[in-house]
Every structure is written in C-alpha cells, then in structure tokens.
Point group: C2
Chain length 665, copies 2
C-alpha cells in the first residue's frame, strides 16, 4: 500500500473555485431552430429585421373610414357612408376608401388606401339602399350608419408600431422562455444563435461498478453505478450535455485510453465512481502524465480527494487546446455535493445559464450541531417546511458517506465554515439544494417499517418517512424534529404525542414453505437446531419477540439472556421487515422474525406468535399542521370502513392485518 | 356581419376553472428509461428489490480483522496480525480471516469470511517477517501492526444497511431529480413508471398567419404566427408534448378536419391565433357540432372569447372518449395570459407536475392604477427588482393587446378583482409570471433609440430598455419608475437626474445613394418636390429637426408651422431610428430624418444637419444601485478610450459618433 497517494496541503475551497474558473469549458455558440430554443441563452443581440406589423393594421372588426367623414357623428346624428367593399385578414385590399365611403374590415386586415381609422362594428348600423335599418340576413347593405366620431389612427396599429426594423429586440444572454420565443416568431426568426451546450464526459471508475439494469453479483462485491446517472442528470439540469463512457477499471492503460477519448470529445471530463484509493491513484497519474494537474485535494468535507486539471487532446481533435478535467469523490452524496458546489456553477456559466432562483433556500437549524475539524464541511441536511411563516427546519443527515439513501433523505447541504464550531438550534443557515427542482417534503415521519404504512404514505403528498424503528422513532419525536412517529408493539418510552390512528398486525416466525423443520414456536429456536435471523433492537417486532422470550424464560425459570444465547442467529439482525423473510427464502436461515403478511406474500410458511398494534402518533404542537391533518384524514379510512363493517381499504389484502381494536394504544 | 357571435352571459373565472377541471386530459402512465426520467413524476411507488449494499462492505481502505483480535491494542502496544491476503473492490474474497490474521481490504470490497471489522490503514504499520518496520517499496509485508482497537461492525456497512429489499424507496408522485435518479440507480432500476406526457395539439387559425422562416407578404396583411410557437413552448414548460398542426384558414371544412384530427391524436386541443370574429365563429360552430361546448366567453380581460369544451374522436382513435378542447384568444399576450392562468395548471396536473415555486412573485405597485370594468382583469405588468430588500416594483404595461413586444416588456400578470377599482402606489400585488423561468430585469431604462446605446445595453446583465423617445423617457424618469433615461438633443423638461455619461451623434437627412434629388438641406424639403419621412415628436431627432426648422423660419421671417406645412411628409412619422432610412431604401420616400451611422451602414446618401448629444441620466435615488453602477461603469469606456486618445470601443465603426465633448449636457 506504499504507493497510495496521500493528499497533504489541501487547497482551500476558494482556490478550488479559482482553479475551476481558470479552465476553459465553454463550447462554441451554435444555431438552433426556434422550436428547440426554449431554455437556451442568446449568444448575440437580435435586432428586428422587419417592421411588426408590416402594414397599417386594423385592430378591431368594423369599418375602415376616413376619420374626417365621421367628425360630428354621434348616436343621435350618425354619419352615413357608402359601403364600397370588404377587407379580410390575410387578403390584399381591393378597394379604396374615397371621401364619403367606408369598407368593412376584419381585425388584423390591411387598411385600404384612403382610410385612416376604424370604427368598431358595435358603433355602426347596416342600412339598406333607402337609409332604413337592414335586418334581414343575407341582404348586403349599401350604406353604413356611423354612430361615433373617430380620430385618424383610431383602432389602427401603424406599420412598425409594435417593433420597427432595426430596433433592438433581445440582448445577448437572454434566456429564451415562451415569451421571447413569441417575439422572435413575430419577427419571423426561425433559428437563433445560442450559447453552445457544454459536452461533459463522465468516466466512472472502479472494477466493482455495474450499470443499472445489468446483472449484479454481490458475492464479487459488485454494486450498481450510482454516480454516472446522478451526475449525468445534474449535468443536464445545469445546461450541459452528458456523455457516459464505459466503465474504466483500475487499470492504467484502460483509464488513460478512456480519459483521453473523453477529452477529445468533450469540453469537460468528470471522473467519478471509485471510492478506493488505488483507482484514484491511477486517475491521478493519468492526469499528471497526460495533462496538467492544477490541484489535488480540497479542504472540504466531503471532497478531500477532488482533482482539478486539464487533459491533453489529440492534435486533430475538434476543439483546440486541452479539455477541462474535474475528479469527483466516489461516494454518491459526496460526489453530488461537490458537483453541486463546484462543478454545476462552471457548467451553467459555460452554457450561459443563470443560477436558478430555487437553488438555495434559507432554513433554521432544528437541532444544535457541533463541528470543528478545521476544514469546511458541506453538511447534508433534510428540510421540513412547517408552513408557519418561518424558515423551514434543517436537520443534519449523516448516514455515512456510503449511503445512497442520504441522497433522498437530505435535501441539500449547508456549508459550515472551518471556524464554526457550533451551530445553534434555531440558527439561520443557507441550504444549497441538491438540485433546483428539489422540493422539501411537507411531512416528516419516523419509526417502524410496515406494509400498511407504505400504502398510507402513498396517499399523502410528498411525505418523507425514515424507517428508523419504533424506539428510535419515539426518541426523535421527543427531540422535536419529526411531525409523527409510527410505533409498533409495546414501548417503555413515555413520549407526549397525539394518537392519530393505527392498526394491528400478526407477527411470528417466518419459515420455508411447508415448514420443513416443523417449527411451532419460540421453544424450537431455543432448543432445536434452527438457524434464526432477527431484527434490530429498535424494531417493534424485536421488542415483541423479546417480550415473548421473557415469558418463555419465566415459564422455565431462566433469564431471557440464557435463552437468547441458545438461539442460533439471535444476534444476527437485518434491516427491514422483509429482510428476514428474504434470508429464509435464500436458504441462509431456517426461521426469521417477520409478519404473516410478508410470509404469505412471498410464499413462506408462518408460525404466529401474536398480534401487535401499530399506532401513528403526532407531535402535539404539529397536530394543527395541514400535512398532519392530511395524514390523520388518510387514517380515517380505517374507521370509515370499520363503521361499514368491511376491512378498511388501507388494509385490504394484507394478511394478518386488522383495524386497531383499541381507540388509544 | 349579422352572423357574428356575440359573447353574452360571460362565465366567471371560477366557472371556467371548473369546466376545465371537468375535462379529462390525463394520458396513460408510461415506462421510460432511467436516463430519460429527469423531471418526470413517478406514477407508482418503487420498493427496493435488492439489498443495498448487497454484501457486507468495507467502508475504508485498511485491514479486515476479527475485532476480538484488536481488543486492547493501542499506539503503545499494537496488536500484530499475520497478513493472509488481500480483497479488492469488485472481486470475490479468496481468503478467510482466521483468529490472529488479517487481510488487506479496499473501500467497497466484500468482507472476507471470518472478519467482522476494518481497521483503517492510517492506524496500521506494515512489518517484515521479523516484526520490524517495512519501508522499502515492493516488498510484501508478512505481518501488520494494528495500533487501535475496533469493535465488530466498525468501518463495515452491512448488507441492506443502506436500503433493504422490500423497503419503500420512492412514493408515487415523486418528481425525479438527480438524487432520486441516484437512488434508483443504486437499486439497479433502469426504467421507471411515470405519469404520461399529455399530448397537446395546437391548431392555429387565421388566413393571415405565416410560419416563422417562411416568406411574408405584408401587402396581403400577412403576419408571422406568434401563438403557435409561444404556446408550444408553454406546453413543453408545463410538462406536455406540443403537436403543431398546419394552419387552418377560416374555412369550416378545413377547420373541422384539422380539429378532429388533432382530437384523435391528442389529449388536449388548443386553438389559437385568429383575432377575427369570423374565424372564432367557425371554430365555435365546429365545437358545437362535433363536440360539446361547455362554455364560451369568460369574464376576464383579456380572454372574453375563450372557449372550453370537448371534441369527439374517431371510433377507432387510440384513446377512448372525447378529447379536451380549449380555445385561446388571438392576441399573443392575451393568449399567453389565458394559457398561463387556466391551461398550464391543467397540463401540469395531467402530467403530475407540481406548480413551480417560481411561478409567482410578490410585487408592489410602482404607480397607482385605476380600473373598474366589472370583470376580472389580468393586467400585464413589468417588474423591476431594486435589490433594496423590498418586493420588486410592478408597473402596468399596456401597449394594446395586439403588441407582441408586450410579451417581453411585461413579466407577468396581476389578477385584478372585478370589485377592485383602484390599486394604490406601493400596494402589494401577486404577479403570475408568464413562465417560471422569467427573471425580471435588474435595470430599467427608457428614452431615445440609438445604435451606440444598443451596444451599451449588450454589455449589461439583463437590462430592459423601452425606446419611448427622449421626451417620454424624461417624463417617465420624473414619475419614478425607471432607473435611467437616455436623452438625445435639446429638451425643455427639467428633470432631476444624475448624468452618467454620453456621446454625440451626427444627424441629418438620409437620401438615396448618390443623392439623386440633389438635396442639400432643409430648404429643399420646404421648397422642392421631395417626399420626406419624419420621426415622432417624442424622438430627440425630431426635436433637433424642429429646432433647425425654427432657425430656417426665423431666417425667412416665417413660422415653423408655415414651413412644416410645405414639407411633403412632415406629418408622416415612423417609429425607430432606422425606419425612415428603410422608407427611403424602399423608394417610398426621397429623404428621411436619420443618423449618418444608419445612412452609411445601409448604403444611403446623407446630408448632415448637425450633431446632437446623447446623454444617459439616472434617477438620483437609484444611483447607488448595483445595476446603475454597472451601467455607469460600462459608460466609463468612453472616457478611458478618450484619455488614451483613441475612439471609444463603444463607438468604434459608428460613423458620425464621437465622445461627448461636454461633461454635462
């Protein structure tokens, strides 16, 4: 391991920004058809090449007149004019309006020669040849009574009055939204010069990576490649065009070949994906030998292993000079954080795109947070908008850098200064969202995982639920961050909370189909040769199991510990309600702690050990919130159905589920 | 005209919304590849199908150990373990860690059998066979000194710890941003079920419409079709797929054929484009006879002629039932306003997309505005953010419904209640932006149009400039809305303003190349047979012309009026600085009021009548604003270049332009 690269002399975040600013990743401007121009940015000014309108244009349906002929006309004493013809939109006028005459005209039609104003149809009457009112349909009138006076120019838009040829229409740097596209259409522009789209090559590295959709072999340590797709989506969002290259392993020659190919074809090359130091080393050497390494290692957490440099291009590559290069950290949250903080602004700049107004929100710390590592920390935080007129709550999310779920459990990052040792509860913080499209959830729930709960969550608008288990859920509810906790089974914790509703689920031992070991209860685990798989202590299922074990121990005059020690796999805990069942299905265990629902759904046998109540409890000071009321409303379904005598829709087809028999747990 | 449809009994805006809500324009959900899923919305919940990670995974580079072997180890008294092999990321472990041994392990690698923790490499030393430090590179060590104790599970992420198979990953209705795409990648998902994209057919009507890029014949009253492209871009922005149909004329059969084809192929059909009552009539009849008209005419201004209904589909069309239909007003600003207010929300709803946070901004009225027509008014307003911590200023923009420039001079609309008769200056208003991507300008300028000014504006970030002429510009500056006014030539108005800089331009008579009429000055216009074309009285050029005419009148002991009456075309005014020159070029005039710059650039002759100063003046209370400082900074270029003796870059190649000789106009 002696050739591993240590990053000493870490650069400051400012130095990293300067290094990135010194890179040239701007593509040449290009011309695109107007129908593909939405969201693009003009690379040069556009002046009107024509007058709009291109002619004196009637802006009302009515009669084109010489204004002088209407002077003095009013309701009591209309002017009468001979009707000499009609002009319709899209047609060349074939009449001339001489003194004493008028022509019917449609909105948008060309003003006929002689006419200088339009009288709107509502202020006129059609007359027959004798001057009487003309009412019968179909007869063409000869004369028109004009019941109002108009001035020259009335209801006429003169040529160029909207915009005249030679006038500045849109400036360089204008982002094209529907309205600018409208103006360009009016000018007859069907293709526009826009800032080019930076091509961003993404080279993901690491022998362990597999593309989503391909077959995964976990025994070889394979994992799906998260960074390539995440960063590609981020590149697109920032106005770049992502180009995904095949995975590079940790081999120098392969890496060199891929990086150079990407440099030839792209404005910016990002490497990403590997978390192992040896892969990072290989990239490092390629950049040093085949390009120019500007800095390696930045004093931010995460992001220490970030690289900034240039990669040489082939002599005959399309673009001159070297391509820009940035190496991202391997862990997904770290990679997205560094991308968001350092890379996306550079891509936007190159694409001429402004920073979206929604990229940053102001929040307030939901809890105090201690820090003091002497380098800047980009702290992932989740947000919760309480709709109370105050800034949303921000709470740190730290599941470890390797957790991909942090991507969706956090909404963005807070840049904590190296000098900041403590963030107070309530302190104002600026949260850089992972993406301008991120919308913080309206409801935060924590606690037990449960299939009926999943259905309940599906009925709410953008909830966030952290399946931390019943015990941890109650702890967090007490600490004041979440709106609600979901608790299964008995609990010691006394937490002040409002009961919103709940249900009962049957739990027990999940065994292979047909129950080949003939398991009948807990005693078989203690006394027999059964490989068991358990749930963690935070889980409500585990608590019910331990209570049952206590009962068995009392029967036998033993301690729970004694019995537990005799269960093969009692200490082997797996994460979610389906996990033990999957171990059983895979043949890795003979029995697992689980639900009848899961056992039946996945085709396993089930030995019932009891029922436990699942309750949804809200923090008392959040009960009035709209989102909590929505949650309570969704739970009402349980009572509505029960009143009608049927099984609540929420629990339909869930084996072993029933409405909670108690009103309060 | 007796068959024209009058819209009586207008529906309320609420009734219009209800009618639109009653339409079904939701497409069926679809499945898209993950790489195309950004911005789409999940149509169903996605549960994890695999454990992530799929194996117990080292989360540090170091050595895999049995934790028990390290108990008691510290810096002073390291534990020494035999090194039995190595495990790399992406490889199946080929070693077993027996008591007293360890294996080198890379971040991300599978934990070998027997090991239950990882010691990070920084807390270890490599030893040679004799237990001494091993420094020489290349020699493989036999033993490792472990300088710290670790607990079981340290630096190991257990299988499923990130997310376990069966757990709820993302709920229905989740919008897919880079982070959700990251989580889906981790789960190996390569295609996702999403809400479908509503297909929105756009049928534009009116004989006068020509597609941008095609040849225009203004003598026939042809204009470019603005609504089709504008609305198509708006549809796309709202999450729909626009489908443009060929133009329909005002012919019933053609219109029927097009609308029915669009209905067969789309979820929603929009008709748009025509401003003439007869075209609207034809559509109206088609909907009544071939569908179901729910309402016609809504009590909003603009939008009276809005239609809502359904259009029958062919029996064998892809989708069952009728398609939704909405008829938009013909004028572009009206069409976009009605689209934004009534149609975009329905498309977003059908696409499962939330209303963007940036769709509405709160502003304050820059001026008072009287209103009282008894129906809701959607008042177009421009915005100006003064960066003073207060809400941006909102000022009404009313150039008449037919003006396409209103599209870019206004930023959105304020819905003014029928009961509101007056909006006070400073009153808080909610502005629905024309598009969530609209960014209000940072600087608002008004006044004279000028080619050097156009260059100056190009150097600023998102300025808005309204070329209303010098006189009107000063009036608006005095009224307090804009930041700056650009004034050319002499002026009577005394307006308190700060001089930021300026230049001088040569003006006179533009004549055809070679000056065929031998024009030498104003006297030739008065005395000769020369067809002249003038600029409006608000223009600084016109003011200089009138002053010169005053001088000539004084010489002749006549009045200016006398002389002006003798100029053929004195009353014929055209809009922009290039407009008179274009009239001359087109042969419609023999001389036009203009600039030497324009004459030379467009290849005309020029008879100089003098120079006039152009000055940029800021409102005194805005001088400190960043955007105004940026404007002043761009003007400094004039002085910088002059100090060096050269022609300022801003004026380079502009014939007849020079640096302002006066420091203050």
């Amino acid at each position: 391991m002696s050739d591993r690269k240590e990053f000493r002399d870490l650069a400051t975040p400012e130095a990293a920004r300067e290094a990135i600013d010194s890179l040239d990743l701007s593509p040449a401007p290009e011309t695109v058809p107007l129908e593909n121009a939405r969201g693009r940015v003009l690379s040069e000014r556009i002046d009107a090449a024509i007058d709009v309108p291109g002619f004196d244009r009637a802006s009302m349906d009515g009669y084109a007149v010489r204004a002088r002929d209407t002077f003095g006309a009013d309701e009591a004493d209309p002017a009468e004019l001979d009707l000499v013809g009609a002009v319709h939109a899209g047609a060349t006028p074939e009449v001339t309006v001489e003194p004493g005459t008028c022509a019917e005209i449609s909105t948008g039609a060309v003003m006929p020669d002689g006419a200088d104003a339009v009288v709107m149809v509502e202020r006129t009457d059609e007359l027959d040849g004798e001057g009487g009112d003309l009412n019968a349909e179909g007869d063409a009138p000869d004369r028109i009574a004009i019941r109002t006076a108009v001035a020259p120019g009335d209801h006429v838009m003169s040529a160029g009055a909207d915009i005249a040829a030679g006038a500045r229409a849109l400036g360089p740097g204008t982002r094209l939204t529907p309205r600018e596209i409208g103006l360009l259409s009016a000018l007859g522009v069907d293709e526009v010069p826009v800032a080019g789209t930076p091509r961003v090559g993404i080279v993901s590295t690491g022998d362990e990576l597999v593309r989503p959709g391909d077959e995964l072999d976990p025994s070889r340590g394979e994992i799906y490649d998260v960074n390539s797709t995440t960063i590609a989506a981020g590149v697109e969002e920032a106005g770049g065009e992502p180009v995904l290259y095949p995975h590079a392993g940790d081999d120098y020659d392969e890496m060199e070949r891929l990086l150079r190919r990407a440099a030839d074809e792209c404005d910016l090359v990002l490497s990403s994906g590997s978390t192992s130091a040896s892969a990072v080393d290989v990239i490092y050497r390629v950049i040093e030998e085949r390009g120019d390494l500007l800095l390696h290692g930045v004093a931010v957490k995460p992001g220490k292993p970030m690289l900034v440099g240039r990669l040489d291009r082939r002599e005959d590559a399309d673009a001159p000079g070297p391509s820009a290069y940035i190496g991202l950290p391997g862990y997904p949250v770290s990679a997205l954080t560094i991308f968001r903080t350092f890379v996306a602004p550079a891509i936007r700049e190159a694409a001429g795109q402004p920073e979206p107004a929604t990229a940053t929100v102001e929040g307030r710390m939901a809890v105090g947070e201690r820090y003091g590592e002497g380098r800047m920390r980009l702290m992932p935080v989740g947000l919760l908008d309480l709709d109370d007129g105050d800034r949303p709550l921000a709470y740190p999310v730290d599941k470890g850098s390797g957790a991909t779920t942090s991507l969706v459990e956090a909404d963005g990052v807070v840049a904590v200064d190296p000098d900041t040792e403590y963030l107070d509860r309530g302190e104002r913080v600026s949260v850089q969202l992972f993406s301008p499209d991120v919308r913080p959830p309206t409801l935060l729930g924590v606690g037990e995982d449960d299939p009926a709960l999943n259905r309940l969550l599906d009925r709410l608008e953008s909830p966030r639920y952290l399946p931390v288990g019943s015990r941890e859920g109650l702890r967090r509810l007490r600490d004041g961050v979440p709106d609600a906790a979901v608790v299964a089974g008995p609990t010691d914790r006394e937490v002040d909370a409002a009961y919103l509703g709940g249900w009962t689920r049957e739990w027990g031992l999940v065994v292979p189909g047909g129950n080949p070991d003939g398991v009948t209860g807990l005693a078989d685990l203690v006394d027999g040769d059964v490989r068991f798989v358990n749930r963690p202590t935070d889980s409500g299922l585990r608590r019910s199991l331990d209570d049952a074990l206590d009962d068995l121990a009392a029967d036998r005059d033993a301690s729970r510990r004694d019995l537990a020690d005799r269960i093969d796999g009692y200490e082997l805990t797996v994460r979610a309600f389906e996990s033990p069942v999957r171990k059983v299905l895979a043949g890795d265990a003979d029995a697992g702690l689980g639900l009848r629902e899961t056992a039946e759904r996945l085709g396993c046998g089930f030995v019932s050990l009891g029922e436990q109540s699942v309750s949804v409890r809200a923090a008392p000071d959040r009960v009035e919130r709209d989102a909590v009321a929505e949650l309570a409303g969704a739970l009402d379904d349980l009572d509505d159905a029960a009143d009608g005598g049927g099984k609540p829709d929420l629990l339909a087809d869930l084996a072993g589920y029933s409405r909670n028999s108690r009103n309060d747990p």
